[in-house]
Symmetry: C2
Subunit: 299 residues, 2 copies
DNA sequence: CTCCGTGATAACCATTGGTTATGGACGTGC
DNA sequence: GCACGTCCATAACCAATGGTTATCACGGAG
């Protein structure tokens, strides 16, 4: 037996005025509309709220019993609306920054943050790491507003990006690997090695880190699938395969038992800051600008 | 920015299920209806309440901010409904008994009450005295459900009644009045006396207490208008006029300085219990039955 | 690759909520 | 008493709302 909030306002207004015509103009509706709505309300409630007769309009006892609750419902709803609006504003003033792996790279993130908050002191930033199965680092499902990603992105038309860094691809392997002793590895020597690969859902990025473009069409051997730095480290130590990674990410896996070596014959990897093409919100533009400016000074 | 309570229920249901289809069946509506209503709600609120994507349905932060308020509004409304229903029931179980002057007359009222409450122990009785300007003693404007009145009633078709007592009409006058010395007064001797009269609004009853039917068309002289026993007593003492009244009401005015005398040549007055012709509620019938039974035993 | 489950959309229909014009009951002032 | 003003109810009408069924688009699982 729910009713429209508006009907409660009508009820309270008439209860306060005890006068339909005056209540109607206070509510900016016509008097017949008010009469009709209150009759409907009384019908759905199953009992009259007002006694109307020659002597005027009075609350029935049932109406009097309902009145304080109606007021309270309206008050609660109004405060709820205020809370909602505040949350809305907070949401508008918060930028979610996604990343596959920590961008690190000499304080790039703090530099961007300080530029950004200088331009938008009211805005809040939230950083969060996203599983590698989503190569857009949350852009695709709205979890992020901007994201640090490795090119290429899937579905290029939906996103725009600015390249933040170009880094050579290294190979990581167990220190017991037969090639671990070399200073530099030629990619041709890795062609038959089992590789650790991103999940299938990573699409073109999976291929990029398998360097399929340097294999002349010969399919890679997949030793395991990996979706986080820790998984990668464990798989390397266990000898499940070798793995390409950007030079800047070497510290993530180069722990005890794992070595990284430069690879000859591979194009560099590109780290980019990306956003949704249709997202023109000022905070997004501002973050991108801050990133470009930072990139300029640090490049 | 009011919304329908139903929409809040929809919102809460989806927030709890995080699943439109399941929420829809819990609410006994089709899934498209639920989708549409929630979109409308989001549109009127100006921000989405849920994130829906491949991974499922989740509350937005704004939605999360609104949720507790929505729950509270619904809870308040539900308790308000309960209060309303209780008041409705109490109203149904309360009989308002109106009277122009106290019926008195040897415990008639307590006798009726005991019979009535024996038949309806759950019912409450409220007695109230009504100004003489309303000769229906509150029946007309709904202030009373049953009423002790003097016949005739105005607008006979609207009411039914049962005669409770027939009493001779006496005349009341100041003890200094020239006729006060007589044991009995003939109405012919009163024709030129100023009379105290009920208000104009009393209609035919005013004429009855002026005994216009015994005046052969000659208009009465009005000394003052009266609307309560106290006014009557004061007007009598002040010598503003004389006044007819039922024998049973003599004690109301026969105080120091006022005397009452039988009048020859007048028909008796009839005290009746009346109710609205269209009012068939069990409590009303029951009170009338109790009154008739009591009348039978005391008559 | 096809099927299933999910939410969104389309097309349609009855009900709701508003409008203006009008009616009927009552009080008021000449 | 009688024309008038006030007040609430009703009538006729119209746009928007809230529901239905049928269908689509998409992603996940077998």
């Amino acid at each position: 037996m729910d009713v429209h909030g508006r009907d409660l306002r009508y009820f309270v207004a008439v209860a306060e005025e005890l006068h339909f015509t005056r209540a109607a103009e206070r509510l900016f509706v016509s008097q017949p509309a008010l009469s009709k709505q209150l009759r409907m309300l009384e019908r759905t409630l199953g009992a009259p709220l007002f006694d109307r007769d020659r002597h005027g309009v009075r609350l029935t006892s049932a109406g009097a019993a309902l009145l304080p609750h109606a007021r309270r419902v309206l008050a609660d709803w109004d405060t709820g609306l205020v809370a909602f609006e505040e949350a809305k504003a907070a949401q508008r003033a918060t930028l979610a920054v996604g990343m596959s792996t920590s961008p690190g790279r000499g304080g790039m993130l703090p530099a961007i943050r300080s530029r950004f908050t200088a331009a938008h002191p009211e805005a809040a930033l939230t950083l969060h790491q996203v599983n590698w199965s989503d190569t857009t680092a949350g852009l695709g499902d709205g979890a992020s507003d901007v994201a640090f990603v490795w090119l290429p992105l899937p579905d290029g038309a939906r996103y725009r990006w600015t390249v933040m860094a170009e880094e050579p691809r290294l190979v990581a392997m167990a220190e017991s690997h037969r090639l671990a002793a070399r200073e530099t590895v030629d990619f041709a020597d890795l062609l038959d090695e089992p590789f650790l690969a991103l999940p299938e859902s990573a699409g073109p990025l999976r291929d990029h880190w398998l360097a399929t473009d340097a294999r002349d069409g010969r399919p890679p051997v997949i030793g395991a699938e990996i979706a986080s730095p820790d998984e990668t480290y464990e798989a390397l130590v266990d000898g499940l395969g070798v793995c390409l990674l950007a030079a800047g990410n070497a510290p993530l896996v180069a722990r005890a038992g794992v070595v990284t070596r430069p690879v000859a014959g591979l194009s560099p990897a590109q780290l980019a800051l990306a956003w949704r093409a249709d997202d023109t919100r000022p905070l997004v533009r501002a973050y991108v600008e801050a990133a470009r400016a930072t990139h300029g000074t640090t490049a």
